[in-house]
């Protein structure tokens, strides 16, 4: 066994950390306050090649694999959850869906500009009545000649309002269910009938965009079917598995930041004649936080290694998302408690991290769904099939 990062990955982390501290962190409070997406940061990330960190070089990527991608998400999560969210939606589910299921031509045409950061991607699934129950989507795709006509409304779409290339799940055969009836399409935002609806006003990750997308008779050429017709749901699950792992990595960064700030404050703040660091209640909070952060770190990079070495990882990725989001929420909650009133002030970053952390227990499959995925994988080996 070998738990050390390679020389290349260590160099990559240095590069990303420097970028995160110089370019991302200084904007984090501002984009949260103004509720705007930091396009200038996306541009710079693209120039360095980081928006294609995990994709092969032949498609404009950096070739740093899933471990490299997790390093990126961890380092971004450490300084700005909004930026991590935008980047995660772009690479992890937008571009990734095309990388996993696209044919050679689609990869050249769509993945390459996404990996280079020339175009921004998104993956849209959720509808008003279909969230956890992804198979209940109603957006329709009807075949017409050598095209499909898409009709429907998608909600809560990260990056949806400005993405150039959007992977959309739609029903091609209502008589078949999730397996066989749903197909993935690559839609370009300048196709006629593609509209951006209302923007969500969120509690956290306010520096990322969540919007409604309306597809009104959008004509999508047949060659934009991603993967095989009727296999959209399967392809979506594959993409989402990877997204869950990298969300866990972003949560790791957030939890690490909460720990670092807590230690700093415990050394600064004096009450009852001594530093908080000398109070056992605070020491225990920090000890628990550090233990959970280290357990999460091991989990995240072990699963990233499983992905890079071609092992099955569905159950493990669900664990990364579930454990990561809960560790991060708990860590920032404890950090807020250690900071007391200062933790509640919007002049200081703990408050922002606190609002930002909560969503990780909900998006990319609620934690309830992760538990079902994990239980399902466990019980399947015992011949029990679990229905959600």
């Amino acid at each position: 066994m070998d738990f050390a990062f390679s020389t290349e990955h260590r160099a990559l982390r240095r590069l990303i950390r420097e970028f995160a501290e110089n370019e991302v962190e200084p904007l984090a409070a501002e984009i949260d306050r103004e509720g705007r997406v930091p396009f200038e940061t996306l541009g710079k990330l693209g120039q360095i090649g980081l928006l294609g960190v995990c994709f092969p070089q032949e498609y404009g990527g950096m070739g740093a694999g899933e471990i490299g991608y997790c390093i990126l998400m961890e380092e971004l999560g450490r300084v700005c959850t909004s930026t991590a969210t935008t980047v995660g939606a772009h690479i992890g589910i937008g571009a990734m869906s095309i990388y996993l299921d696209g044919n050679e031509e689609q990869k050249r045409k769509y993945l390459t500009p996404l990996a280079r950061g020339e175009k921004i991607g998104a993956f849209v699934l959720t509808e008003a009545n279909a969230g956890s129950d992804a198979a209940a989507i109603r957006t329709r795709a009807v075949r017409e000649g050598d095209s499909y006509i898409l009709d429907g409304t998608k909600t809560f779409n990260t990056n949806g309002s400005f993405a150039d290339i959007v992977t959309v799940l739609a029903v091609t055969d209502p008589t078949l269910g999730a397996r066989g009836g749903i197909t993935a399409f690559i839609v370009e935002s300048d196709m006629p009938g593609f509209q951006v609806g209302t923007h969500e006003n969120k509690m956290g990750i306010r520096g990322s965009s969540t919007a409604e997308l309306i597809f009104e008779e959008v004509r999508v050429p047949q060659e934009n079917v991603l993967g095989n017709v009727g296999e959209g749901f399967v392809s979506f699950m594959k993409t989402l598995d990877l997204g869950r792992l990298t969300l866990g990595a972003a949560c790791l960064g957030g939890a690490q930041a909460a720990l670092d700030w807590s230690v700093r404050w415990a050394r600064t703040r004096r009450q009852f004649g001594e530093e908080l660091a000398h109070k056992q209640s605070v020491q225990w909070m920090i000890a628990d936080m550090a233990t959970q952060v280290e357990a999460l770190r091991s989990l995240v990079y072990r699963v990233a290694w499983m992905v890079d070495t071609g092992q099955p990882f569905t159950q493990m990725a669900a664990m990364c998302k579930l454990y990561g989001s809960e560790v991060a929420s708990r860590a920032i909650d404890v950090a807020l408690q250690i900071h007391g009133g200062l933790g509640l002030s919007r002049d200081f970053l703990i408050e922002r991290f606190f609002r930002d952390a909560r969503i990780a227990e909900i998006f990319e499959g609620t934690n309830e769904i992760q538990r079902i995925v994990i239980a399902n994988n466990i019980f399947r080996r015992h011949g029990v099939r679990i229905r959600p």
Partner: protein
């Protein structure tokens, strides 16, 4: 024992609900997003007598018992924790301290305008380097403690024998709740022999209200820095006996602990209501998610915690009415109320999923609001020290914070 509310308390409760539904609920969301103090709501509340809820009729109060008052706080908090905290600061921290320790003249002067809502109370205890550690206060009072009047001798001069204006308060108070809207500040300062409490009107020369904190939650409450720069005081400003400031502060915070737990009760109730309604209507995998055992578990656990808290709160309020209750009792209800309010709201947000995270639904506001309860009025860690002190006292272990 009798756990039922009296007929009168039931009647009050119906009135509180009616008021909150008409006056608080329609405004709460907008006040939070605009970060406006609820001045209109307070005006209406004053007309109902709520701003003098527990004060005697002679001061134009509503003369409610503390249990009824907690029902009021609980009801208001169902719709807005900001409104509840503004009221609790005014009534439990300030007005009731004046009622308990003020001279007749002080009560006559301050309580009627407070009950009428013409003057809001603010509590100025916390400082940059003194939060939980209140003995570390840096604000100074130069007002000497009066000499005890000797039989047959001269009475103590009213301003300690100094020329008028020589006695003053100097210091900085932070996170003063109601700072911006207050007419009267209850200020704590180090005197020559221990901590003293003073009643300082907002227009007193040398008192100025500064920076308003932007906060995670309670965005309709104004938390301000208050500067005391040569703020002139005399014996007339002193509340209670010299050197008893910490006792006054502690009693006020004990009463407030119960009211804040009542507010936590209200937040938890409202969150559960919203989540139950959502779960009954939201269909996933072909059935309302209320049919899912995971959701049932969240809701059932929340309701269990809520009901346990309810009777802890009402009992603690009853203890206040009886003039009983030890630090232990108030710390238990404070810590538990905060934990349940936040824990339940957090879980109920999860039931709503993405909708719970959107600011267009009140659950996100309740979640941001509820988090303050384990910090404001003495953090949970301090309550735990006081609880442990009682437990270990029986084993001869002395615990210092």
């Amino acid at each position: 024992m009798d756990f039922t509310l009296s007929e009168e308390q039931e009647m009050f409760l119906a009135m509180f609900r009616d008021f909150s539904a008409k006056e608080v609920a329609p405004n709460a969301e907008e006040l939070d997003h605009a970060e406006q103090p609820p001045l209109g709501v307070l005006r209406k509340a004053a007309q109902q007598g709520f701003l003098g809820a527990t004060l005697p009729e002679q001061y134009f109060g509503a003369e409610l018992d503390y249990v009824s008052y907690c029902l009021l706080v609980e009801t208001l908090a169902q719709d807005s924790l900001s409104v509840a905290v503004t009221l609790v600061t005014h009534v439990s921290l300030v007005a009731m301290s004046i009622l308990a320790r003020g001279t007749d003249a002080q009560r006559e002067e301050w309580l009627p305008p407070m009950a009428a809502g013409e003057m809001m109370g603010a509590f100025a205890l916390t400082e940059p380097d003194a939060g939980s550690d209140v003995a570390a206060l840096q604000t100074r009072s130069t007002l000497p403690h009066p000499l005890p009047a000797r039989e047959g001798g001269l009475p103590s001069p009213p301003d300690g024998g100094l020329e008028g204006g020589a006695a003053a308060l100097n210091g900085v108070k932070t996170w003063v709740t109601n700072g911006e809207i207050a007419g009267l500040f209850l200020v704590f300062a180090q005197g020559p022999e221990g901590v003293d409490a003073f009643l300082v009107p907002a227009d007193a020369p040398g008192l100025s209200v500064g920076y308003r904190e932007p906060t995670l939650g309670l965005r309709s409450v104004t938390f301000n820095t208050v500067y005391l720069e040569g703020c002139r005081i005399s014996e007339a400003n002193r509340l209670g006996e010299p050197g008893t400031g910490l006792t006054i502060a502690q009693r006020a915070q004990d009463r407030t602990a119960v009211a804040l737990a009542a507010a936590g009760l209200g937040v938890a109730e409202a969150s559960i209501d919203a989540a139950a309604q959502f779960a009954a209507e939201r269909v996933q995998f072909g059935v309302p998610i209320a049919q899912k055992q995971a959701i049932q578990g969240y809701v059932a656990e929340a309701v269990t915690e809520l009901e346990a808290l309810r009777y802890l709160v009402y009992r603690a309020a009853w203890l206040v009415d009886q003039g009983q209750g030890a630090p232990f009792d108030f710390s238990v209800v404070k810590a538990h109320g905060a934990r349940v309010a936040y824990g339940v709201t957090n879980r109920m947000l999860q039931v709503l999923g993405g909708y719970g995270y959107m600011e267009d639904y009140p659950l996100a506001r309740r979640y941001r609001d509820a988090r303050v309860l384990s910090i404001i009025g003495g953090p949970t860690e301090l309550q735990q020290v006081r609880i442990a002190q009682k437990v270990f006292a029986e084993w001869d272990v002395e615990i210092v914070p």
